[in-house]
């Protein structure tokens, strides 16, 4: 981790723009080389944006999802890998803040997250559970005040670049697979042995390699809330909102290219409206549904958090599932629309209208927690949804 820069005194939009510019400048190299977007992340650190959500009394700025979502979108239009790292980091940080405010160790980590601009990653998937976030095979093995944890992780995004890993595990060796806790482990408390390399179609800068992960740490670092509650009541919704915001950014940048292409066409032949303008309007209509769906989800999130019990109802969970599935599907359609508009100019990897990286990156959206899996879970929830429409039927 690099030493702290000075707080610049710049406004939040200026700090975000500086990070967006740095991310955009290196996006092609990050994608081509499949390397970590270090320039974008350093720019986020320099702008003090990695600790944005930490409560003010612990050195941060108390930002919520409504503040973070537009930053994800802005970054997503520049470099989707940088944006996704930013989003995933903030999901970890949100878990820490949601569950750790009563715990001295976790409070100190929040403070360090703000002052030292630490980067956090998560290890939720595990070999053998078929991609189910809510199940673990590995278990916390307590020995007095400490515990050991060994996990076969098919994917840990930016595992080699992070300052801490938030890992799920069964509560103890006798616990059922769904009785999980979330363990916070600092980079000097674990060993990572890389077992597979992330050479993927898109999102290449997330460096989501596979690892054998072995950790040992004091038990006080385990978050006090059951992971089932963390997942159901904040983590899944938060992930879907921030991921969707990243995908919105990819679609927005594709739209910007397509619009520039149509304007150039219109200039070439004044008096004749370009055929592609109609296609652009169709793409824009689709794009608007992405923005509207995210805005709706942020509203539901705010209402849920404002309620005294902060309990996620089935209706809330269904809305968040719908957000993820809709935005991941529609954003891909928008980028494909833009490809049709730009034609071969969009298909080329060189030139101002190239959309190859956008297309490859956005193809990850339906797969990051497979839409099929999400819809299977949503299908069960539909059995018990108690919306006015369901009552009338």
């Amino acid at each position: 981790m690099k030493p702290l820069g000075e707080v610049t005194g710049a406004s939040l939009p200026e700090r975000v723009q500086a990070a967006v510019d740095a991310a955009a400048q290196h996006a092609e190299a990050v994608d081509r080389e499949g390397r970590f977007p270090i320039e974008g992340i350093e720019a986020l650190r320099d702008g003090r944006l990695l600790g944005l959500a930490v409560p003010a009394e612990l050195g941060g700025e108390g930002a919520g999802l409504a503040d973070l979502a537009p930053i994800c979108t802005a970054l997503g239009g520049a470099c989707a890998s940088t944006a996704m790292v930013f989003a995933m980091h903030h999901i970890c940080l949100a878990n820490l803040i949601d569950c750790g405010l009563e715990s001295p160790w976790h409070r100190e980590l929040m403070h360090r997250a703000a002052t030292d601009q630490l980067l956090f990653a998560s290890s939720t998937t595990e070999a053998g559970v078929g991609g189910d976030l809510r199940q673990s095979i590995c278990a916390v093995e307590a020995e007095g005040e400490r515990f050991n944890l060994a996990k076969a992780a098919p994917v840990i995004s930016y595992g080699e670049e992070t300052d801490a890993i938030f890992a799920t595990a069964r509560r103890d060796p006798d616990a059922p697979s769904s009785d999980q806790v979330l363990c916070v482990l600092l980079s000097d408390q674990y060993e990572l042995e890389r077992v597979s390399t992330w050479d993927a179609l898109g999102m290449r800068g997330t460096c989501s390699h596979g690892f054998r992960f072995k950790a040992s740490a004091p038990t006080e670092q385990i978050l006090p809330r059951p992971f089932a509650d963390i997942a159901a009541e904040s983590m899944i919704a938060g992930s879907h909102i921030l991921w969707s915001s990243v995908w919105c950014g990819i679609a927005a940048d594709a739209m910007a290219k397509a619009q520039a292409f149509v304007i150039a066409e219109a200039r070439k032949s004044p008096g004749t409206p370009p055929v592609s303008a109609t296609k652009l309007a169709e793409a824009y209509a689709r794009y608007r549904t992405i923005e509207a769906t995210i805005a709706d989800a942020l509203g539901r999130w705010a209402a849920m958090r404002a309620a005294p019990e902060r309990a996620a109802t089935v209706g809330f969970s269904l809305a968040m599932n719908a957000l993820k599935v809709s935005v991941s599907t529609i954003a891909l359609q928008v980028v494909e629309d833009c490809l049709m508009i730009c034609g071969l100019q969009g298909y080329k990897n060189t030139g101002p209208y190239g959309l190859g990286r956008h297309l490859r990156d956005i193809h990850s959206a339906r797969l990051m927690i497979s839409n099929d899996r999400i819809m299977a879970g949503a299908g069960q929830m539909m059995l018990i949804q108690r919306s006015p429409a369901a009552r009338r039927a």
């Binding site: 809510r134 509560r171 616990a175 059922p176 697979s177 769904s178 009785d179 059951p226 089932a228 509650d229 159901a232 009541e233 019990e309 309990a311 996620a312 109802t313 089935v314 209706g315 879970g377 069960q380 929830m381 059995l383 018990i384 949804q385 108690r386 919306s387």
Partner: protein, 83 residues
């Protein structure tokens, strides 16, 4: 009522260790109840007690334990308390 609830938990909660080990305050999620099982349990409760859980009660806390379920059912079907 609590006897019926315990019976439905045994039938539907899908607890790896069965329901014999649980008390009224056992956390059913920690005991291994997964989301699909909680849906099955909820549908069975609605049928058994002839109730309908309103949207605001459809959250994890309502189905966390036998006593939490008992409280919810008691609110929705006060007559069943005696049963």
């Amino acid at each position: 009522m609590m006897e019926k609830i315990r019976e439905l938990i045994d039938l539907h909660a899908g607890l790896p260790g069965g329901a014999s080990e649980i008390t009224d305050d056992t956390d059913l999620y920690r005991a291994g109840m997964k989301s699909f099982a909680s849906v099955q349990l909820m549908l069975a409760l609605e049928e058994a007690f002839d109730i309908e859980f309103p949207e605001e009660m459809l959250n994890r806390a309502t189905f966390r334990s036998a006593s939490a379920i008992g409280q919810a059912v008691g609110t929705l079907a006060p007559d069943s308390m005696a049963a």
